[in-house]
């Protein structure tokens, strides 16, 4: 990257409301310049800085998958200055994209292994990227069993619902979708918090099984003991951290946990690694 602060120009190609309360939207971007898409070659688990000129930049996990070509997708929760501005932008608007940034889920290490994906709330973006990547016909045979536990407050708060229901129908992935609660009598899936469903439905650990966990702090806190009960060691639990970021390239100094910079040495760490650093996340 010539100038790591200089974003690739992109155009908003599509905006989709992702949840029933409209607090999350999925943005699809296409690159304005030929060749930039190739330069942006990424792996599932990485993030990028969405760069809105005149407003600012935000680090967001890449929700599209390396096997999907011609666009990149991000799902963004409206919360502060930049995310609110982005939610009001229109298809056709021009902005910037800086990345890909950070490390990714350890796909080399995961080859030949069973993978359990555990996600909660809107921290399912890079997990979607990962699932689409693993299910790709060119990749599916590289992995053993794939289990997914994904939960949200209510059915309407689940991200990527159409895809979830499609995956439910497949035999090469075990889906365990759950909601905290619902009064929908036709709800066919689980009810209960993620840690509880993990304990009930996730496979027992063996040396060849790894768990990837993303979610709000509270979910992570209670999922860890559930995984420990199932026999997962700290080196078999893979997590993605979110610290406040600016540069995304390890230079501005704010995102560190101990000597690791979450933006560059992370955001993906094993629990074993995290256990050796101060818990400043």
């Amino acid at each position: 990257m010539e100038n790591p602060y200089l974003p690739y120009p992109v155009r908003i190609d599509d905006i989709e409301i992702a949840t029933e309360d409209k607090s999350l939207k999925t943005f699809k971007f296409v690159f304005l310049n030929e060749g930039d898409e190739e330069k942006f070659a990424y792996q599932a688990g990485q993030f990028a800085e969405l760069s809105i000129p005149g407003v600012g930049e935000i680090p967001i996990g890449i929700a599209s998958s390396p096997v999907e070509k011609g666009f990149v997708k991000f799902t963004v929760f409206r919360t502060g200055v930049v995310t609110s501005y982005l939610h009001n932008m229109k298809v056709g608007d021009i902005m910037g994209l800086r990345g890909p940034l950070g490390n990714w889920y350890p796909w080399d290490k995961l080859e030949g292994k069973n993978v359990v994906i555990i996600g909660g709330g809107f921290a399912f973006t890079t997990l979607r990227s990962s699932i689409v990547y693993m299910l790709d016909p060119a990749n599916r045979s590289k992995f053993g069993n794939i289990d997914v536990v994904y939960g949200a407050r209510s059915p309407g708060m689940l991200l990527y619902r159409e895809e979830l229901y499609e995956w439910e129908k497949r035999s090469d992935i075990n889906m365990h979708i759950t909601v905290d609660g619902t009064d929908d009598p036709d709800w066919k899936y689980n009810k209960g918090f993620v840690p509880q469903i993990v304990e009930e439905k996730a496979p027992q650990a063996d040396a060849d099984t790894f768990a990837i966990v993303c979610g709000p702090p509270i979910m992570i806190k209670f999922t860890q003991p559930a995984l420990t009960k199932l026999g997962y060691g700290p080196d078999q639990i893979i997590m993605s951290l979110e610290n406040r970021m600016k540069c995304g390239i390890g230079m501005c100094g704010r995102c560190n946990i101990g000597k690791e910079l979450v933006c560059k040495d992370g955001p993906v760490f094993t629990l074993e690694e995290i256990n050796m650093t101060p818990k400043e996340y």
Binding site: M1, E2, N3, P4, Y5, L6, P7, P9, L32, S51, P53, G54, V55, G56, E57, T79, G80, T83, D93, I94, M95, G96, P217, E242, N243, R244, K246, C247, I249, G250, M251, C252, G253, R254, C255, N256, I257, G258, K259, K264, M276, T277, P278, K279, E280, Y281
Partner: protein, 350 residues
């Protein structure tokens, strides 16, 4: 190694001569005290200064720097497409930089010039700069640079080292960049290299002898990050801190920054500004959650970064060059030497 003698009567003339090819920076006194600043055409560097309030880091890393620009006017062809802001990377020289500040720039370089990314603003400025150091004959009472891997006559990171010999400067020319600068000034009275080196050694020893302050860092390496992090002394260390951030702004090795956009009518600019880990905003998430929400956590971050994380990460010593500025400027007298000693001597009780 080449030595040059510069008669002080010829000094100003030589400096002026170099302005044709170099943009000059150096110590000047303003209402806020002595600063290392860009020198106006009629201003000479104040070579008698003892220490500058702020360090020389701003020569490469301005307090506020425009990095990108674009137009927000949709009538413009390339609206909302960001471009690198124009910068002046023609040769510049910083005259009279103190050896510890030059060493600090080498430490900061590890952050901005990495295997994975090169910060083009800092690195371009670095490459454009010639560092003309001024050795410290009489170190101040807060100088503990000899125990941090530098010292009053340290040559690390310098292109020329000047020693003040009353009526003249004896200049040790250390690099081709230094040679080019001396030539641009017309300084060419070569001195005997052997004799000059002996003089330098004597002056260095004299200067080092007057330094009474030091830190011990020998045991920091063997402690784990978590043991130091969880040590019981941090509340005491942080107790009187008011989180003003002064210590980080005056420090030559503090490099943390923020990125902000600013608009004037339809012209938009992205700036990077010095930031401080002492501010709660530095790490606060949009949700309000703050991993370093308490004052103690921020004070601990500053000292852990300087004295442990950096040490472990780069294996190049601590991230402090012993200039003493933070000790001098802290309104509540928090002293990195004491904190370092506490950390270095800390033994975890089993």
């Amino acid at each position: 190694m080449k030595f040059i003698t510069i008669d002080k009567k010829d000094w100003a003339k030589g400096i002026d001569k170099s302005r044709g090819t170099y943009q000059l920076f150096g110590p000047v006194t303003d209402i806020n005290g002595c600063q290392i600043k860009a020198l106006d055409a009629d201003v000479q560097p104040e070579m008698e200064y003892t220490d500058s309030v702020l360090s020389a880091k701003s020569v490469l890393f301005p307090q506020s720097e425009k990095i990108l620009v674009t137009s927000l006017n949709e009538a413009d062809d390339d609206h909302h497409i960001m471009k690198r802001a124009d910068g002046d990377y023609t040769p510049r020289a910083v005259i009279g930089i103190r050896p510890y500040d030059a060493r600090a720039i080498q430490l900061v370089k590890m952050n901005f010039d990495t295997e994975d990314y090169r910060d083009p603003y800092w690195c371009d400025a670095y490459e454009a700069t010639t560092f003309v150091g001024l050795a410290i004959n009489k170190p101040g009472p807060l100088d503990f640079s000899t125990s941090t891997g530098t010292g009053p006559f340290s040559e690390d990171g310098l292109d020329i080292l000047l020693a003040d010999m009353d009526d003249k400067f004896l200049a040790k020319v250390l690099t081709p960049k230094g040679e080019a600068y001396a030539a641009a000034c017309g300084f060419n009275t070569e001195a005997d290299a052997k004799e000059s080196q002996v003089l330098f050694d004597v002056m260095r020893k004299d200067a080092e002898k007057t330094i009474s302050s030091s830190v011990e860092t020998d045991k920091l390496k063997d402690k784990t990050i978590l043991d130091l992090y969880e040590a019981p002394f941090w509340d005491d260390v942080a107790f009187s801190c008011i989180n003003c951030g002064t210590c980080t702004y005056v420090c030559p090795t503090c490099w943390c920054f923020d990125i902000q956009d600013e608009n004037k009518l339809k012209a938009s600019s992205r700036f990077r500004n010095w930031d401080t880990c002492m501010s709660p905003l530095f790490t606060r998430h949009a949700t309000g959650h703050n991993p370093r929400g308490e004052k103690t956590m921020r004070v601990r971050q500053r000292f852990m970064h300087k004295l442990k994380y950096f040490l472990d990460k780069y294996d190049s010593g601590i991230m402090c060059v012993g200039c003493g500025r933070c000790v001098k400027s802290c309104p509540v007298n928090i002293d990195i030497r004491q904190v370092c000693e506490t950390m270095n001597n800390y033994e975890k009780k089993e």
